[in-house]
Amino acid sequence: MSGYTPHTEGDIAAMLAAIGASSIDDLFAQVPAGLRPRATIDLPPGLTEPELRARFEALAARNAGGTGPAVFLGAGAYPHWVPTAVDQVLLRSEFLTAYTPYQPEVSQGTLQATFEFQTFAALLLGLEVANASMYDGASAAAEAVLMARRMLPDRHTVWLSRALHPHYRAVIRTYVRGLGDVVVREVPFAADGRTDLGALEGDLGPDALAVVLGQPNVFGVLEDVAAVAARTGAAGALIITATAEPLALAMVRPPGACGADIAVAEGQSFGLPVSYGGPGVGLFAARERDVRSMPGRIVGETVDAHGRRGFVLTLATREQHIRRERATSNICTNQGLCALAVTAYLSLLGRQGLRALATTNYRAAHAVATRLEAAGVARRFDGPFFNEFVVQAPIARWEALVRDGVVAGFPLARWYPELDDALVVCVTEMHGAADIDRLVRGLAAPAARAASG
């Protein structure tokens, strides 16, 4: 018997007697006899808790997390400090071990927190309404394209900025695969690292459904969303923005204010560890008039039988459990606890803290970029950026630095063959002065390194 099941021999005997069965095996009589012998579980015996802990600590020790190498990686997952209070909220069993709030009278905690999450998402993205979360930023972007298709059913061509994170582009392509009638095309990026407006303008035809771009994009460069929106809108298509580093939106004009019709973001930066890429949480915001085309759960305010304010899941007729094959999305379970982390994090940092943290990130990254430039390591793109930028440096130097315990950004050639010897480097409040010194020294051109001693 495992430690997690409470049955005594006496319990089992009494329960079988009540059922009228002579053994637990009898309860499986309905399973065809031929299947049962082959189902023997081929797994090792169970571990005690100390053994389990030792085994997992050994696995964790073989990773570069914790006090391992200095890692200047962003590119879709961003290292930020997670305040202890945030994780403490997540560990509240009443949040942790509840499920989708089907019984609102005894789920007001989850429901109110989700209503607050929707408010934060709408405020940050600069749009009117937001849903209760999607799986992550990339699948949120894909759901945004599906929503656009519901809104403009006669248009079929989706334009993806090539400077949109390649994972986001890949997920969009996967999600539209099954529909069979959506054409995906890509817009090149220009020398400043931004989506090439000129290319876009020439190509948007009457079949254009939507344009999707990153803000900031995968190069860390801030797009001119308003300019893209003007051209997209003139062609009658929708503009969708996807933000992988939402901390940028604390200082950058939000997509909604620039004319975006749908704005999505990855919320991991707000209170969640990078955790080898998941779980994160997708933020999804749109205009109020389009809310009935929106995917996912939505919480709304109402009153109880005594007139007291309360919250419920609402507009459920869009969803799979009612509309089945005609639902706006097949999503059911989303990322509830991660949305709670975002809500607690943004509450804690608040207006002052978020602004200060964004400023710190911006200054830290620009300071490093300036030092690298002085050390002969030029930026590849000259567009404005937030806490991430692309530099030109030989891959051999990057490899040597990894051996020395510094991961000096992500080599973009894996995603963009034309960008060989280009690294996208992320600097946040988590990077200390000593590690930054090692980064700059290690990436510096030999002449500059010699000169700086």
């Binding site: 009935r292 459920a316 007729t317 009612i322 509309r323 005609r326």
Partner: protein
């Protein structure tokens, strides 16, 4: 339950009121009662044309979604926009303020294929057993 004598009915629980060459369409008292509180009505744009039995819109209550079917062929000449803000009119006044669309009838003959109040009342009684 009320089934006015001057209306024509379908087995999908829509009603049609003939006014000159036009037909006004809504859902019956039985339908609104079965749906429960109506929370949203999705209606077509003016100018859209429908064949008999073709879905012209959707009515949503808290827990269900139902298609709305055109009783006869026609072109939409007016839509009850008030329902966008006051969907409850479908519950409170299904044959009046809760009307949904006005159709310019393509073929008046089709009206004869619809049910009279008596026949619809009988049909509904069978549905309930």
């Amino acid at each position: 339950m009320d089934f006015p004598e001057d209306l024509h009915y379908t087995q999908e629980h829509e009603w049609l009121r003939v006014e000159g060459n036009d037909g006004v369409v809504g859902i019956t008292d039985f339908a609104q009662d079965a749906l429960g509180d109506v929370v949203f009505v999705e209606l077509p744009p003016v100018g859209a044309t429908f064949a008999p039995g073709q879905a012209f819109g959707v009515v949503e209550s808290n827990k269900t979604v139902s298609d709305l079917f055109a009783p006869v062929a026609g072109r939409v000449t007016a839509v009850n926009h008030v329902l966008r803000d006051e969907p409850e009119l479908v519950n409170s006044d299904p044959y009046g303020a809760g009307w949904m669309i006005r159709l310019a009838l393509t073929d008046r003959e089709q009206v004869n294929r619809l049910l009279y109040a008596d026949a619809y009342r009988t049909f509904v009684a069978q549905q309930r057993t």
